[in-house]
Symmetry: C2
Subunit: 323 residues, 2 copies
């Protein structure tokens, strides 16, 4: 029987993950008995879950909070919580406190339980661990040379994940999520600046704007074994796949291709509402972003790429927009 802890459960990925877990009722072939959903604000329980759900709200980076969550000895811990890139860049101290110290306190809390406790830990990292200049396709062994504080914090957390796994304190697995491209707003994260210039793509109903953000869509690089990106011992990528089943192993599209896809799926009307507002500062940041991946390890683990950006938009409309 699995006891699950999802930290950052109020965000888009947490919500999708919980929908999937509630639907399946099991994880890695083992039934789910209980789930604790944690975030800064109390997360909504997924509809129709057959397992017990408890919601908890607190600041993970505060001393003692991680210990409380881990005291329940969850068998699988999804650590999805983070201050996003723009906020970590704007607020240096907050970024390090949440993204580095919060993660380390969680890992330390697990280590200190002791007594043979060794949960599976699924950690969502980011392709922000990479920095330009890039090779034509970024492979699993490309170095982490982040160009943002957010990327630095994620790369440091990956190193911790590896070391705690190697030492046997838990069974960690890291997933480098790409920039999100399509999805609802998060209750805790501020809007992303980059969304401004291309992504006021409204829903099909035409009345409410929905940012192109929230849903991971460009690439997903995962790793296991003794190697960075995120070395992970233990049995199989099951929890891992459950966490990321809706994300791509590799799909790279430009903004223009995204808009063209939107036009094909939803017609001219929503696409026409996209405003082009070039911002030199944002363009400079975006220039440094990785664009293309050879996510071999992720494919070997069973991740699959969405076939096209149209598919991503269709899934988004199905899952998120009122019929």
């Amino acid at each position: 029987m699995n006891r699950i802890l999802v930290i950052g459960a109020a965000g888009m990925i947490g919500r999708k993950l919980l929908q999937k877990l509630a639907q399946d009722g099991s994880l890695g072939g083992s039934q789910i008995a209980h789930a604790t959903l944690h975030d800064l604000v109390a997360p909504q329980p997924p509809p129709k879950a057959a397992f017990q759900v408890r919601s908890a709200a607190s600041d993970l980076s505060r001393a003692g909070e991680a210990d409380k969550l881990v005291a329940e000895r969850p068998s699988v811990i999804f650590h999805l919580a983070a201050v996003v890139s723009s906020e970590a860049e704007a607020d240096f101290e907050k970024g390090y406190r949440v993204n580095l110290d919060g993660t380390r306190q969680l890992f330390e809390a697990i280590r200190k339980v002791g007594g043979g406790y060794r949960p599976r830990v699924v950690f969502t990292s980011s392709i922000a661990v990479f920095g330009a200049p890039f090779p034509e396709a970024i492979g699993d062994e490309f170095l982490s040379a982040p160009l943002t504080s957010y990327g630095t914090q994620k790369a440091m957390a990956e190193l911790l994940l590896s070391d705690y796994t190697r030492r046997g304190f838990f069974d960690g697995i890291g997933i480098r999520l790409p920039r999100s491209a399509c999805g609802p707003a998060s209750p805790t994260a501020p809007p992303r600046a980059f969304s401004r210039d291309h992504s006021r793509a409204p829903q099909r109903a035409g009345s409410r704007a929905a940012c192109f953000r929230g849903r991971a869509s460009l690439a997903c690089v995962a790793a296991r074994g003794g190697r960075v990106p995120a070395p992970c011992g233990g049995a199989g990528g099951r929890a891992h796949r459950a966490a990321a089943q809706s994300h791509d192993a590799r799909l790279s599209v430009t903004i223009a291709e995204q808009i063209a896809a939107l036009r094909r799926v939803a017609g001219d009307a929503p696409a026409r509402l996209i405003r082009r507002e070039p911002d030199p500062a944002i363009m400079r940041i975006v220039k440094g972003w990785p664009r293309n991946f050879d996510a071999q390890r992720a494919r070997e683990l069973g991740f699959r790429a969405d076939a096209s950006f149209e598919e991503i938009i269709r899934i988004y409309m199905e899952e998120e927009l009122p019929a």
Copy 2:
């Protein structure tokens, strides 16, 4: 006028660095007015320094200690202090406290001075940031996938060094020192296990054993610009070169070659005192060590490789052994 702070000044590298600084009287073309030498035990001042020297002893990882050191607003800070690899592996908490938290507290102390204060920070990292499997020669862009807690802590500190430099809090430069091969014992570090099986090479006088350790000898990989190993903005590699002038950009030798070199330099008598004591646990660790480097960036910065291991032994004998 330079005001210099050396943290970890009682160690071998700190001592060599201070000898060199005392001899030159200047650093990067600018006269040295003052040096503070810090370590767990009060470091010996270098003989014949023309500048003021103050020795300080405390635990850098204790809250407030870094702030006290940085309050003097040194223009150049050498951060050499670390718990060594074997100790960081044996004492998980101590390794993270000293190697990660101590470094971060130093960086934070510098950041918090503010008011345009932006010192040069020279940080000694390690080739332990690399983990097997290795390419034939490890280049400057090889990923950091450490296989020890020590390597993890050094890799995390490199990431911090990069980010603090990028944010303009200081002008950082990192040097990845190789495994040391020849030198006196450190007053704070415990003997290294690996030394046991090959390195009881006594001094020429024949009466006192001196480990093959302490002096960096295999390779030195440095970096600057926007890239890991250790991105470093700012003007030139002067402080950097001063810190590492006696270290190699690239020289790879096996233990057998080291012993052969010792025999050529010092004759059969000391070489005969080396005991062969194979230890399967140590051999396993050593198997995972990097062996060969293409340290292009270090060469471009002016690092030079010692021509041979004989040269290293000769320098060691000149500098460290009583005539």
